[in-house]
């Protein structure tokens, strides 16, 4: 589904990603861990198409196509979803209207008929219920005045609405209380199937108890330095990152 090869990216002349290799197959859950500033969000942003970053050498293929060649909106419509580490507030745009615009853009791109208003309403209610999002948030402006946890929950709600093929979750667990964490995990697990994949960026192995990963990667100073199974997360929680220095080949 996703093949990243030797990906380099820099911002304002500083190289942040220094040769990332990663392959994700349908049905898999990959976790990325790593110290602050190691480049996790940068990787997520580059995949989503943010153009503050200059992508140097390297390639990213997604569903057989050159991802780096696609517009931001096309990536989304083709199934890439980024749950932001810091979701953006958009005053004046209600969550419902926002989702209406997103869903209709996606459906149009996929050659599907537009949803009838009642079908859309049904869908939005179902997905809100899936992530325990109080319907009053649907009428509020996107993320405006939401608490940190509410914003994260809103990201997962949007993810459920758009049903992505590849979901990239950037620290969706930070700022969540334990109940909210379970709700998020429930949402993810409900969406999970053999055709889609998740890339979960986190600092805590706690989330990975609920969303069990197939692989855990360590990103350190712009490189994937270690890859293992879910037990690697536990090990990192105990020992920290000091013992990992040298790069290894990622799966």
């Amino acid at each position: 589904m996703l093949q990243i090869q030797n990906l380099h990216a820099s911002v304002q002349g500083n190289e942040i990603l220094k040769g990332i290799n990663l392959e994700i197959k349908p049905g898999e859950v990959h976790a990325i861990m790593g110290p602050n500033g190691s480049g996790k969000s940068t990787l997520a942003s580059v995949l989503a198409g943010r153009n503050d970053y200059e992508v140097g050498t390297g390639s990213v293929r997604y569903m057989g196509k050159d991802l780096l060649d696609m517009d931001i909106e096309t990536r989304s419509r083709e199934g890439i979803f980024l749950a932001f580490q810091y979701p953006v507030e958009i005053p004046g745009v209600s969550n419902t209207n926002f989702m209406k615009a997103c869903v209709s853009a996606h459906r149009k791109h996929l050659g599907l008929e537009a949803l009838k208003p009642n079908e859309f309403l049904k869908m939005i209610r179902e997905k809100a219920a899936l992530v325990d999002l109080d319907p009053k948030f649907l009428h509020r402006s996107v993320n405006e005045g939401f608490s940190g946890g509410e914003k994260k929950r809103n990201e997962i709600f949007q993810m459920a609405m758009l049903n992505p093929k590849l979901a990239i979750m950037d620290e969706t667990d930070s700022g969540l209380d334990i109940d909210a964490l379970k709700v998020v995990a429930r949402g993810v697990n409900a969406l999970r199937n053999s055709d889609n994949a998740f890339l979960v960026i986190t600092h805590y192995q706690r989330l990975l108890e609920y969303i069990v990963p197939d692989y855990v990667h360590v990103l350190y100073n712009g490189r994937m330095v270690k890859t293992g199974g879910k037990e690697l997360a536990l090990e990192l929680e105990e020992k920290g990152y000091d013992w990992i220095k040298e790069p290894q080949t990622a799966v």
Partner: protein, 428 residues
Amino acid sequence: MDLLPENYKELLLHYIDNWTACHTAPAYLQNLRAQAKGAIQGLSFPTRKMEEWKYTTLDRAIGHQPLPPDPLTGIDPDWLEQYALPGLEATRLVCINGEILYHDPLPKGVRLERLEQWPSHLPEPVPQPHDIFEQIHTALLSSHWVLGVAPGVSVEKPIHCINLIDNRLKNVLCQHGLLMQFGAGAQCNLLETQHCLGKHSALNNSLMQLQLAPNSVVGHVQIQQGHAYQSTVQRTHVYQAGGSTYSNYLFSLSGQIIRNNLHLSLQGEHTEANLYGLYLAKDHTHIDNHTLVDHQVPNCQSNQLYKGVLAGNATGVFNGKIYVRPQAQKTNAYQQNRNLLLSEKATMNTKPQLEIWADDVKCSHGCTIGQLDEGQLFYLQARGIGPEASKAMMVYAFASEIVEKVKNAQVRDYLLGIIANQLNFSID
């Protein structure tokens, strides 16, 4: 051929003579007209050297030598339907080229008369310096129309003033105007819209005066729309007595040059004034809003929020004056002007002008001129919305903050429809 302002003035004075000769009026108005004509001789059209017109020139609007239109008589109420707002139940009042030619039956407690037939004497507004446009307005006025709401009356349906400009046959200069008087404790909502009937250039020189008696509550929505050769110079003077609340919602959505002067005198204690403005300008449109909130007595409150979106080669001006007179202690006055520039060539001049002579007051002001936020655009695009649609969505959101202030749902829907249409934006 385009005219220079001096030549235009000469042409106009000559025309005023001819026009006056064939438009009879009561003696009082004949006197006023003659005085106004005399004043015009000593005044000049605004130039950029005048402080109040530093950023706005009307040369483009008067260069096509607009003159008063021919009189138009008799209209078919059915024909008016096209100018009604969808779903809005209102008492319509139709003004063509400044003359009221039709109105729906007036609700109880509402009166509409020519000034000479008005039963009681109107209180004299506080005198103020009249500029050339106000003098032209008076010199070419066919009659003063007065709209009054009796004390204690709550007018349920809004009064919709449809201002039509007949520019089908030639370039026209129109004098729209209304004197309005709201009795003590009266409540009323007003809506003004304007439309051109033709394609010739038009200059709408409008003058509205509102007098609010103690404890009256008036909501006043003004919607300005026009084609690329239609300009507007509009003055709205509001005199507020104690305990009254006046809320103005001014939407300047299209046109060639629009200059608005909104002047509020807070003359009685515990009055409240709200001024909301939204202007959308693209291509070569120029929109200039001058507001003046004059706090003359203690314990009053004014809130002001003007927002603008400028695209293409459009230019905008905001000048917001707040006067707090020495005796106006305990004044609360707020002013905000926020602007979005959508192109490199669009410009905006904004100038808050607070003059405070009292010491125990709360006043604040702020202005911003910015572009769309990249982070927000990325967020929308990352959810699959295309770049143009993302921009439109954000501009729409920016603009709708002002629309949301309007209390009437049909008026809001109408405005949102126009704005969405201009942005080429739809939710579905």
